[in-house]
Amino acid sequence: MTSLPPHDPLITLWQTAPQPDAQHLLQDLQRLNRLHRRLNRIVFAILCGISLLLIFEETTGRVRTHGALSAIWILGLVAGVVWHRRARCNRSDALTLDTVSLLKFMIARAKSDLFIARCLYAGVPCGAMVGFFVAKLAGIGAPPSAIAAHPLLHVIQTGAGVAALIAMMVTGAILARSRRVQVQQLSEKLRMIQTDV
């Protein structure tokens, strides 16, 4: 393909930049592709393993939920896979949108993430406390005799619940911090790009 030589000396100067190593770049792309596929396989294997474990626990009667837990887990898994595939198909933002539209899209997404993050670090402990008191009032949960029979199991379950709660709060706090900065910076950038001269 031939093109006319650029008329502006600045363009001529700009395009004298040295050529990067394309071969090295291609190797990196192939390596990233392999890593991405490997990661997908690992995640898939872990999710399948959890599903099999749940099904096994319920079919052997060790967990007395009569298949409800497995059904909820598998439904959630299917919904997650469908959502992931849809999100991947719609992830054409950087490829199809102009810069201004992309920035608006990203600000909207960052605000939505910020809301989810706030739910994690503020909503989760509130929900846990409400759930605890409602369970106490309604008398839901393990009877004192069961706790007395397996005190170690009760401690492990409580500890795991509290650990999960703390992990969700910490994740939410970190996510909220980064998304707050994103919203702020992207809005500033959009304002600068949209400003008429």
């Binding site: 950087a94 600068m192 790009i193």
Partner: protein, 188 residues
């Protein structure tokens, strides 16, 4: 006709009868060709938005992964350069967001000392470094326009890529060129 006739680049790795992954050499040849032609442009745009060499590499990889995903949908060979430039521009905008979160310390660029500019190549490299620095120092609204202009994109394509009007693009371009020339010590 698809740019890469009959070849989905995402399917470069296929499973062989022996269960191993093979590389479709023909598809990679096409990708190599595109990378060879446009790699310099992608890198030039990336270094305007990012100083740190490792992060420039990350940015370039992000751009090529996005281009890789987009190529099967691209039908018009003539618009490939504008398309890749637009993707690069958009990825660079995203990258600024991430680098701000990470708060990394940029490395300072090293420019040749003018007193040691003994030959034409060194002098040219020095002028190029000054041009890159001048574009980096432009305000965001001028930087985006200037970067795409220096890639020899017409004003209309720049306006479409950025989502602003053509008249606005022209005014910004005029101001960007004036600012760059001023930094070169050429007030005209």
């Amino acid at each position: 006709m698809s740019l890469i006739a009959g070849t989905d680049l995402r399917m470069l790795f296929v499973r062989s009868h022996h269960g191993k992954r093979l590389l479709l050499v023909a598809g990679m040849d096409k990708l190599e060709e595109i990378v060879e032609v446009h790699a310099a442009m992608v890198r030039r745009i990336a270094i305007v938005y990012e100083r740190h060499p490792d992060m420039v590499d990350d940015l370039v990889q992000d751009v090529w992964i996005a281009v890789w995903q987009a190529l099967p949908r691209l039908n018009d060979h003539a618009t490939l350069k504008s398309y890749i430039a637009r993707i690069t521009q958009n990825i660079c905008v995203t990258h600024v967001r991430r680098s701000l979160v990470r708060q990394t310390q940029p490395l300072s660029d090293t420019f040749p000392d003018p007193a040691q500019a003994s030959d034409e190549a060194t002098a040219n490299a020095m002028r190029l470094a000054r041009l890159i620095e001048a574009v980096r120092n432009l305000p965001e609204n001028l930087k985006a326009v200037a970067t795409l202009y220096l890639e020899d994109m017409p004003v209309r394509d720049i306006a479409v890529a950025l989502g602003i009007s053509e008249s606005n693009t022209s005014v910004r371009l005029h101001r960007a060129k004036a600012a760059i020339r001023l930094s070169f010590g050429d007030p005209s």
